[in-house]
Symmetry: C2
Subunit: 285 residues, 2 copies
């Protein structure tokens, strides 16, 4: 099930990369085919990137350019993505990249509503358009960094499930199994296997020294794409969820002290003080 949740995430991240490259970068199908083909020779090497390049090469049998541009943008789903997100909520493990992917398919299926809504709102003009290699490189890095976040979420979920249900899962072996013919098979899984072989108690995949270096190198690209997309009206739910996951995870002081104050104000739910953690306090606000 978690494999399929990750698959949803991978596919949505590739879809957002395509949207950004096509809309902001002006890349046509032939450019997209060669871009994904090139990406398949590097850190992103995987079955899904490989077939994406093939898809962009495929001509429409009815003679209307490339086939993919003639396909309706209503994504179906069989339920495994949904179950993954529901179970992650049960375990209390955030998997926002995968959750965004499930929602994106649901929203895409409301095609008629979207077409009507599009007529009623003005989308920002493409003033943020940025062509050329720097956009392609930033998109590559955004995809790679988000993919690391998504797999980190999936592994954290498996780790929590293993504890909750005393399954004694070996995460290195799972990463290794996923290399053997399944849809998310990717070179990247070798690095995940190594990370959990080196440290079976790893709290989060991004804390592994190799992954940490990869994230640090690629996160500026993700920041750039999320900023550009927000300014340009391009929906990037999985990219932005991945970035928010990272920025939340590496922020020592989050604003949930205010949330705790509010909960204590209206419901006397109590809070802990920074200078006396572990002790529950209530204030008459």
């Amino acid at each position: 099930m978690v494999h399929n949740g990750i698959e949803y995430g991978d596919m949505q991240l590739i879809a957002e990369s395509y949207h950004v490259l096509k809309t902001l970068g002006g890349l046509a199908s032939a450019d997209l085919a060669s871009t994904f083909q090139k990406w398949n020779e590097g850190v992103l090497q995987s079955f899904l990137i490989e077939i994406t390049a093939e898809i962009f090469k495929k001509k429409d049998p009815n003679g209307k350019g490339s086939l993919v541009e003639n396909i309706l943008d209503k994504a179906g789903q069989k339920g495994t993505g949904k179950w993954t997100v529901q179970e992650a909520l049960e375990l209390g493990v955030p998997i926002p990249t995968m959750a965004a992917a499930v929602d994106a398919r649901s929203l895409s299926s409301r095609k008629e509503e979207r077409v009507e809504a599009a007529k009623l709102f003005k989308i920002p003009s493409a003033s943020a358009v940025e062509k050329g290699d720097s956009l392609v490189q930033a998109t590559h890095d955004a995809l790679y960094c988000s993919k690391i976040m998504s797999y980190a979420q999936g592994m954290a979920m498996l780790s929590a499930a293993s504890k909750a249900y005393t399954w004694n899962l070996k995460l290195n072996e799972i990463a290794s199994l996923w290399k053997g013919g399944c849809i998310i098979r990717a070179r990247f899984l070798d690095s995940i296997r190594k990370a959990y072989e080196t440290n079976t108690e790893l709290k989060n995949l991004i804390l592994d020294p190799f992954m940490r270096a990869e994230v640090s190198r690629s996160v500026p690209g993700l920041r750039k794409i999320v900023s550009l997309a927000a300014a340009s009206g391009i929906p990037v739910p999985a990219f932005s969820a991945s970035l928010a996951y990272f920025d939340s995870y590496v922020t020592a002081n989050l604003p949930q002290n205010l949330t705790q104050a509010q909960r204590d104000f209206f419901g006397a739910h109590t809070y802990e003080r920074i200078d006396n953690p572990g002790s529950l306090v209530h204030t008459e606000w």
Copy 2:
């Protein structure tokens, strides 16, 4: 339950506003108190904004400045937010703002992990710092626009539940009930009541003419804050989820044509053509 899901969303959006104003704007507790007090006189008027202003005014009884700054940033939850998101997934209705709020509480509770992770990654320097009224106004608009998206998601969920379980819910009456003393009580609910009184078949709250105008006016502020936060390393999961929801909903052509092509490539799941919707096609890719 949906009331409580919306409450989670409201609280997280207020927390993100606080984080942005404090970190990017340099606002101290006294400035924050007066900002939220002022906001409580306008379109954001609500119980939660009112108590937020009160919270920022409260001095620490131990003499360490304002009380809220001495509260630990580990948010608790009782489960109603989680149930809302799980049930929304069951109904196939995206409620990403609320989902982000639930995840944000979970991530906040991993305080020790975050403190350790913060030492391992370099956060962007505050080069994006923008002081003064324009940041405060953009944050106000980001909060308002995101709040509209969150309530639109909640109402869409109730509408779907009403159909699925033949409850015959009156959304105008629900909005009216929520004005009567509950935690999300707000001036804003009057506009929601009116929207569903005028059109009981409204497909999405943002399509109501009044809401549409409010969204059009406030969404540039949301774009600005999401862009700035992404560049500055400030996690804004609920702001960015709200923007992605809007941008997805008003985009006539999403990139899920690629998702459908991939699903057909690896699983023969079939797709529809733009020029022949309703008819399922499979291609030998």
